[in-house]
Symmetry: C2
DNA sequence: GCCGACCAACTACAGTTGTCGTAACAAGTG
DNA sequence: CACTTGTTACGACAACTGTAGTTGGTCGGC
């Protein structure tokens, strides 16, 4: 599980664009960056992509010019890392505390929670089915649920 | 609803201590700061408390020496602000996306979710009851569920 | 064969953050 | 009283961040 380097907020924004595009040149990233109003200078985007490349967060294809950049990690991994950090810093690592807060703060309703649960119940059943199928056929299986802290 | 100023991570740690203590002097905060191993220098804590005071995040009682500091905002408010920022930056403001991620990332199990729901269902019923009682008796009421975005 | 459009490499720079060191002062102690 | 101890007020600083200007090379045209 590759460790995700620390990303500043400007860098993270760049990554989000890269995930959206799949990959892109400095100019493409710059054009896609849709934050309200001002587009950052070309060199600003370049600097950021350079820093990201330096810390291994993006890969650069220098065989083509202009260089083509893409994220070195899947979106889910990076976001997962951010969530874990946030959880550790703010909720002492306890995910249920966060969800509880969300509901109490009315960012989420009880109904949202139930809807989510329905979706998840269904998908988890589907996954069990495919896992079982895979197990009996290809014997490939998938990584079982790892041990979660506390 | 007082706007919470932006807090750096070191500043937030100080606030956490202050909430734990209720209030405290530089020395007390410093002693309570329990991060693994190294205690920060006395002046480091002072600088941080000073910066927090400067941005209105903590209140200082200078009538007593050593000065006594305490958070200017309730824990829930500050955390709520942090959560909202995080949600906006990482999940496009969608709380349900975050919870979905949590479950998919196994930080939370379906069972945790159900347990949470049970707790919340019970407390929301209790709140309804008290609200109704308050409404019929003192006419005081409480802020109704505010409009949530989207 | 010079020109403007692109592009990568550097350099720059002010602001922010995390951590301290020093000076100066009040109170307690031998 | 000379010292030690606990405090506040300031100043410092290196690392990190967000943003961008400058330099110098390439390439397709006119």
């Amino acid at each position: 599980m590759a460790r995700i380097p620390h990303l500043t907020s400007a860098e993270f924004e760049i990554l989000k664009v890269l995930w959206r595009l799949g990959q892109g040149t400095v100019a493409e990233v710059r054009a896609t960056q849709q934050r309200g109003g001002a587009v950052p200078a070309y060199t600003t985007v370049m600097t950021l992509l350079g820093r990201l490349a330096a810390k291994g967060a993006v890969l650069v294809d220098r065989s083509r010019e202009p260089f083509v950049y893409r994220s070195a990690h899947r979106r889910e991994s990076v976001i997962g890392s951010r969530v874990r950090d946030f959880l550790r810093d703010v909720f002492d690592g306890k995910a249920d505390s966060l969800v509880l807060h969300l509901v109490e703060d009315e960012a989420l309703t009880l109904e949202d929670l139930r809807a989510l649960e329905r979706v998840l119940t269904k998908s988890s059943r589907a996954e069990e089915a495919t896992t079982a199928a895979a197990a009996t056929s290809t014997r490939r299986g998938r990584r079982a649920a790892g041990g979660r802290a506390k």
